[in-house]
């Protein structure tokens, strides 16, 4: 028998628009949807992007689980519609999880969305906590704030 990769959704996040944090069995790592290069950027974002590009996470072999697990939250960064902060969890120098822990959206957009619900027929999956899935698809953070907060968290973890 092969072991199925069961990534289980867990965790809730403040803010109207959350990003999912999915945790895995001890031997597995997961990463979160994040930012892609924005169309416009300042020098700060360029530095953050360059630092991200240079960073290489170590490969981890099958089934291995080693190193102490720690989580740090990067700086809270302002972006066009509010502010966000990124939390990185690492086992040793290996990133095991990236999640947005703070996300505040600016008015009036958030007000416009408040209270809206999808009249879905699939109510049983609306709360993904118990769903067994392999990954999450969603619109990605394309703000420099995400990249900068992520880089700050990596720096705190001394991951280069």
């Amino acid at each position: 028998m092969k072991r199925a990769p069961l990534f289980v959704i867990a965790g809730t996040i403040a803010g109207l628009a959350g990003i999912l944090s999915y945790h895995t069995h001890p031997a597995a790592q997961a990463a979160l949807p994040g930012a892609s290069s924005p169309a416009t950027a300042g020098a700060q974002a360029k530095r953050a992007g360059a630092a991200l590009g240079k960073h290489k996470a170590k490969l981890k072999g099958a089934g291995a689980a080693a190193g102490s697990v720690q989580s740090v939250v990067g700086a809270t960064e302002q972006y066009g519609y509010g502010e966000l902060a990124v939390k990185v969890t690492a086992s040793g120098s290996h990133i095991t999880d990236v999640a947005v822990t703070t996300l505040q959206t600016a008015e009036p957009y958030s007000q416009q969305l408040a209270g809206q619900v999808i009249p879905t027929l699939r109510a049983e999956v609306l709360s993904g906590q118990s769903a067994q899935i392999n990954g999450v698809s969603g619109a990605t953070y394309t703000s420099q704030a995400y990249a900068m907060s992520l880089q700050a968290a990596l720096d705190k973890l001394h991951i280069r």
């Binding site: 892609s36 992007g49 996470a57 959206t105 879905t120 999956v125 698809s137 990605t140 992520l150």
Partner: protein, 255 residues
């Protein structure tokens, strides 16, 4: 039975996001799988270096400001621009990298294209199955376990930590939307922020095209939904700003 190696996971910070891998080794050794993942990551870093708009000296930045001709560019740029042109025609202009305010910007297709190629590296290395998730743009092949399909949650646009749906995916899925940053998607016809759709998901055989079509449907809403419904192999799932939903007939919801 063949090898009992469990799924190998890896997370790679690249392209301004974190790309995650889940690889079912099959008969391949752990060393072969690690080598394939390294090769896939190298491909992603090369794509990042070529297409980043954060670096003013990157090939795409130089092309955008007219500092270099296409013939002087790495071949990947012509390949991606050809795909962009195809996606523009297929989407009736709703995906249009040439209509962006700051110059041609293939970002709406590049990540999907790069992740699709990274997945192909793993497939060609002889692994049994794999998922590559580039910040929500996901390419898969094979099966995560015998008799099981890859299952992908579609993030709920308004409820933190919840899913709007779960899909079974056999090749590619991409989601685009305005829910995380406010209405930032540009309507290529007006140059103004588009505001009719909050979440647009496309499944299909190519992640590059799925990525572009998701961007198009996020901007064009029902008009693009109608186009997707007529495309062989592709399916769409749309959540409008009023909370109403639509999906084409071939999408595989897990219910």
């Amino acid at each position: 039975m063949a090898t009992e190696l469990p799924v190998v996971n890896h997370a790679e910070p690249v392209m301004g996001t974190v790309v995650s891998f889940a690889v079912v080794p099959g008969v391949q050794s752990g060393r072969a799988v690690s080598g394939a993942i390294e090769a896939a990551c190298a491909l992603l870093h090369r794509a990042d270096a070529i297409f980043t708009t954060w670096d003013a000296q990157s090939p795409v930045s130089r092309l955008r400001r007219g500092a270099a001709r296409l013939s002087e560019m790495p071949p990947e740029i012509a390949e991606v621009l050809d795909l962009c042109d195809y996606a523009r025609r297929v989407s009736a202009g709703w995906f249009d990298p040439w209509a962006m305010p700051a110059g041609v910007d293939p970002a709406g297709l590049v990540k999907g294209w790069a992740v699709e190629r990274a997945m192909a590296v793993l497939r060609e290395a002889g692994t049994e199955a794999a998922m590559v998730n580039g910040g929500g743009d996901i390419a898969v092949f094979g099966a995560p376990a015998p008799g099981h399909a890859w299952r992908v949650g579609i993030r709920h646009p308004w409820r933190a930590g919840a899913l709007a749906a779960i899909l079974e995916v056999s090749a590619a899925v991409a989601t685009s939307g305005s829910y995380e940053r406010g209405p930032h998607l540009i309507d290529p016809f007006t140059g103004q922020p588009a505001g009719r759709t909050v979440s647009a998901t496309i499944t299909g055989p190519s992640l590059a095209l799925a990525d572009a079509l998701a961007t198009a449907m996020a901007a064009g809403g029902d008009e693009v939904f109608g186009i997707v419904a007529g495309l062989d192999g592709y399916a769409g799932y749309l959540i409008r700003t009023d909370g109403s939903e639509a999906h084409t007939s071939h999408i595989s919801f897990v219910s």
